[in-house]
């Protein structure tokens, strides 16, 4: 095999669960097993992040060595005989999970990430009983940080440090760290500050990589459980980087944005606008009807349709008082046919009287390719002008 840098790497052959597996030298047991389609459970590991080997969920038995090895950090060696499901490995995993539960709130029923939690999945798979009460439990304040995008619940934190690594390695911002040791260990931002004071950019990368519900998207609280949403893959509507993302839709409303691991441009990464700037779509300021100045409507229609409620007097611009008299300048919310006829009719008249040079069209860097193509066709085929431009330069 040849890597990007053109250096030849050697392959080694090993046996996993009785199957022959070939893997490049230097890969981990986890990578080798996954490439052969053999699953090894993990918690602190994430393929996008460096490995710390701290949780011990991924332990496997290696013949010829005494103890278990963490598959996410142990490199493959030629001739290794690995059993990923040995009794010792499974017992260790069960023990690790039990320990995590002794200091974890029993709140799955009301947890945001119920059904989308790596801890819950493993506890279910390994049939770990809820531990008897006893021993010290943390009682951190929930949502102690005023950041408008990220909610923290340290009671659920399993100290896997995935958020720490996501911030340091993907966002390259180093906001998160683990302070203190042992039972006192806890996740802190900066020098135990609020996120924004610790120079957090509110990208939400840490939330995206948290395997449990310790970090979550604040705008989605109570609204976006995984079994209640439909995920629609699309492209971010803000900047030209073109990140892919999933709009999480519930009852006709976008309630959360999540990343797409295989996104070609951005992987799971997004910025604060792409991840948390979606709610403008449902803002009450959205225009919901065509608006036509009263002067452009026939007086007779105006009176009748205002009276029967088909049309409405609008409250825009916002400095207009609602009880003002209707003037020729007042915007009337009309039906589409009326508004389109007003514009098409006027365009037709102007074209006849003044020719194509009387028109200019601002196309839009926010609209789709297909729409911009149609704007160009409209300017050139229908209006007859090349005066079409957009704010590419602005």
């Amino acid at each position: 095999m040849t890597t990007n840098s053109g250096v030849e790497t050697m392959n080694v052959t090993l046996t996993v669960n009785g199957r022959r597996v070939v893997a490049p030298e230097g890969s981990t047991i986890l990578e080798a097993a996954r490439s052969a389609g053999i699953r090894i459970p993990t918690l602190c590991h994430h393929p996008d992040l460096s490995n710390v080997g701290s949780c011990r969920i991924c332990v496997v038995s290696v013949d010829g060595t005494s103890g278990l090895q963490t598959a996410c950090t142990a490199p493959v060696q030629a001739g290794m005989q690995i059993d990923t499901e040995s009794e010792a490995a499974r017992a260790t995993r069960r023990f690790v999970l039990e320990m995590l539960l002794t200091d974890h709130p029993n709140e799955c029923m009301i947890c945001e990430v119920n059904g989308d939690c790596e801890l819950q999945e493993l506890v279910y798979e390994y049939e770990v009983p809820w531990p008897e009460p006893g021993g010290a439990r943390h009682a951190f304040a929930v949502d102690p940080d005023p950041n408008p995008f990220i909610v923290i619940d340290r009671n659920k934190c399993i100290l896997c440090t995935r958020c720490v690594r996501a911030c340091a390695e993907i966002q390259n911002r180093d906001v998160w760290g683990i302070a203190h040791r042992g039972f006192e260990s806890r996740l802190v931002a900066g020098a135990d500050e609020f996120l924004l004071d610790a120079r957090c950019e509110s990208c939400g990368q840490c939330v995206a990589y948290c395997p449990v519900g310790a970090l979550y998207d604040k705008m989605s609280l109570g609204r976006a459980r995984v079994n209640k949403v439909t995920r629609v893959p699309t492209t971010c509507s803000y900047c030209g980087v073109g990140c892919s993302l999933d709009l999480n839709v519930r009852d006709g409303e976008v309630v959360r944005v999540t990343g797409i691991p295989e996104a070609p441009v951005n992987g799971m990464a997004l910025c604060v606008k792409g991840r948390y700037g979606y709610d403008y779509v449902h803002h009450p300021d959205r225009l919901t009807a065509p608006l036509v100045r009263a002067a452009l409507l026939s007086a007779e229609h105006l009176d009748a349709r205002l009276a029967n409620g088909e049309w409405q007097v609008t409250a825009v611009p916002d400095d207009r008082s609602p009880d003002e008299e209707i003037t020729p300048d007042t915007f009337i919310a009309t039906d589409w046919a009326t508004a389109l006829d007003v514009v098409a009719g006027r365009f037709a008249d102007e074209k006849e009287a003044h020719g194509a040079d009387a028109f200019a069209v601002f196309a839009s860097a926010k609209c789709t390719n297909e729409e911009n193509f149609l704007f160009g066709k409209f300017a050139r085929q229908i209006l007859g002008t090349n005066s079409i431009d957009h704010c590419a330069r602005l």
């Binding site: 993907i170 509507s237 803000y238």
Partner: protein
């Protein structure tokens, strides 16, 4: 971009960012640059008048004066040629015009470049060495390069530098302008420009016009049209009578807003199509309610020429409709009224597309660089960067491999040209403009996103502590910024991100939009206004007095 985000992130041995506040404007590219510097050890050189976030991560930060980019780039090239670091093989086999370049660049030894730019000669030497010793290197720029009266010279100088270093046509190299808005690349590609049809097919080319006449069944106008800035002036003068503004807000985003206002007031018939009742809508005769991106199907083309799907996830509110639907309704009505009469036998005369995919079919047929960009391929997961000349073509992640599209790459040497308007006694400070991470463009969307508004609720103008003290402007106090064209009032952010003599403002907040101040002087070729430099004065606004 000549290259792709991925190859720059993974293969560049050096990254040179000039005139791009990448971590705020193109955040996900910004984090990849930070990562390349930090985890891969690729040296990062940042040239910017402001100490932007990336400057903190830079191995070398060149803080040049606004409007001196060409002088800085010429200074770097002077050192590279002098030291014999130029890639002579590349120059000989792939380029022309090197002698002209050498002649111009000879005039910019580091001391001269230093005088013009304010960057020390030693830093210019050091940057040239870093660039020369770490190839291939990627050059990344944005509006800090283009939004000047010397924008074209700046762009050419970026290309000159990269050709001189042999950094073209290879992974990890290239000249990489970052396009601002989500689909500004696509709007250009689709012919939303006065001199070209889709795929940059020239209006001036009779054969191209003939092709579109035959396809659309209507005679094609042969004169290039007006640019945005020219449209507004023509509207003010009454030559343009009808302005149809789709999804844009010139009353915030264009230079010299007081002039824009007069133009819009003078426009006979103004139709605006948008999500919200924008500042521009105030001047409209008719306003059409448009659908948001989350409410429609289609494609966007990103800054690396990658075409990606946009999918309808929710319904538009009330009677709002997609821009495609609205413009189609207008076209069909005008045809029905006889105001346009395209030949029904022409293959693409009609407006009966049933879906965005069908419109793309027409794009495929009429646009060579998009010929192979089909919905079935996109849906099957094909990663397509144009040019994609046919349905089997895999796309083009890197341009100019082995050969420039024009054959030989031409060195187009340029001299430093000072900005159109520089500080003087009356307006002693320089204003430069830009954006912040929490807001986007005219702010229409981001000011209506709860969290973004909460984190960054109002316009801030950056001013250096010395200038603030001299003008008696308090930190967080209100200040008035005045130029020859207008004034704004905004809160002062007293910071050494800017140097003494420089203030920085954004256009995200309509009432304090920097564009009341900016200079509409254009680059003569690209017609880009000089947003990045104008002269202003500042004064405190007493408590209680409002804008």
């Amino acid at each position: 971009m000549t290259n792709s985000i991925q190859d720059i992130a993974e293969d560049s041995r050096c990254i040179f960012v000039i005139g791009s506040n990448t971590t705020e404007q193109h955040p996900v590219i910004g984090i990849k640059i930070r990562r390349a510097q930090r985890h891969r050890g690729a040296p990062l050189i940042v040239a910017d008048p402001r100490r932007i976030d990336l400057a903190e991560h830079a191995d070398l930060f060149l803080r040049h004066r606004p409007g001196t980019d060409t002088a800085l780039l010429n200074g770097l090239m002077n050192v590279i040629i002098r030291e014999g670091w130029a890639d002579q093989d590349f120059i000989d086999s792939r380029t022309e015009g090197f002698a002209d370049l050498q002649e111009v660049v000879d005039r910019y030894p580091p001391e001269v470049a230093s005088d013009i730019t304010g960057v020390s000669a030693a830093d210019i030497e050091a940057a040239a060495r870093l660039l020369a010793e770490n190839r291939p290197g990627a050059l990344i720029y944005a509006m800090g390069i283009t939004q000047h009266t010397s924008g074209v010279s700046n762009v050419m100088s970026c290309a000159n530098l990269q050709m001189l270093l042999g950094n073209m046509g290879v992974p990890g190299g290239g000249v990489n302008p970052l396009r601002g808005q989500n689909n500004v690349q696509g709007a250009c590609d689709m012919g939303g420009l006065p001199d070209v049809y889709s795929g940059y097919q020239k209006v001036a080319d009779a054969a191209v016009r003939e092709k579109f006449t035959a396809a659309w069944g209507a005679p094609m106008p042969d004169r290039a049209g007006l640019t945005v800035t020219e449209m507004l002036s023509a509207a003010e003068a009454g030559r343009v009578r009808c302005l149809y503004v789709i999804g844009e807000n010139p009353m915030v985003s264009d230079p010299d807003l007081n002039h824009v206002r007069r133009s819009l007031e003078e426009t006979e018939f103004l139709v605006v199509q948008d999500l919200f009742f924008t500042e521009t809508c105030r001047f409209a005769d008719v306003v059409f309610p448009a659908a948001a991106a989350a409410e429609k199907d289609g494609t966007f083309t990103n800054t690396e020429r990658r075409i990606q799907r946009v999918r309808r996830a929710v319904e538009p509110p009330g009677e709002a409709r997609s821009d495609a639907w609205i413009v189609t309704q207008l076209a069909e009505r005008m045809i029905a009224m006889g105001a346009a009469a395209p030949d029904a036998d022409a293959p693409y005369s009609s407006w009966d597309h049933a879906s965005a995919a069908e419109v793309m079919g027409e794009v495929n047929a009429l646009t060579p660089s998009y010929a192979g960009v089909t919905y079935p391929r996109l849906e099957a997961g094909a990663e397509l960067q144009w040019p994609v000349p046919d349905a089997e073509h895999p796309g083009t992640p890197i341009l100019h491999v082995g050969r420039f599209s024009r054959g030989l790459g031409r060195f187009a040497a340029a001299d430093h040209m000072p900005p159109d308007e520089l500080p003087d006694d009356e307006y002693p400070l320089m204003l430069t403009t830009g954006r912040v991470i929490y807001h986007w463009h005219g702010g229409g969307a981001t000011r209506r996103a709860r969290g973004l508004k909460a984190v960054y609720p109002e316009a801030l103008v950056e001013i250096h502590p010395k200038d603030a003290a001299a003008a008696a402007i308090a930190a967080d106090g209100l200040m008035r910024v005045t130029s020859r064209r207008g004034e704004i009032v905004a809160k002062a952010l007293v910071t050494d991100r800017v140097v003494p003599g420089l203030v920085f403002a954004t256009f995200h907040f309509p009432e304090s939009a920097a564009n009341f101040l900016t200079n509409p002087a254009l680059d003569p070729q690209a017609k880009i206004p000089e947003f990045k430099v104008c002269a202003v004065r500042v004064e405190p606004v007493p408590e209680g007095e409002s804008a």
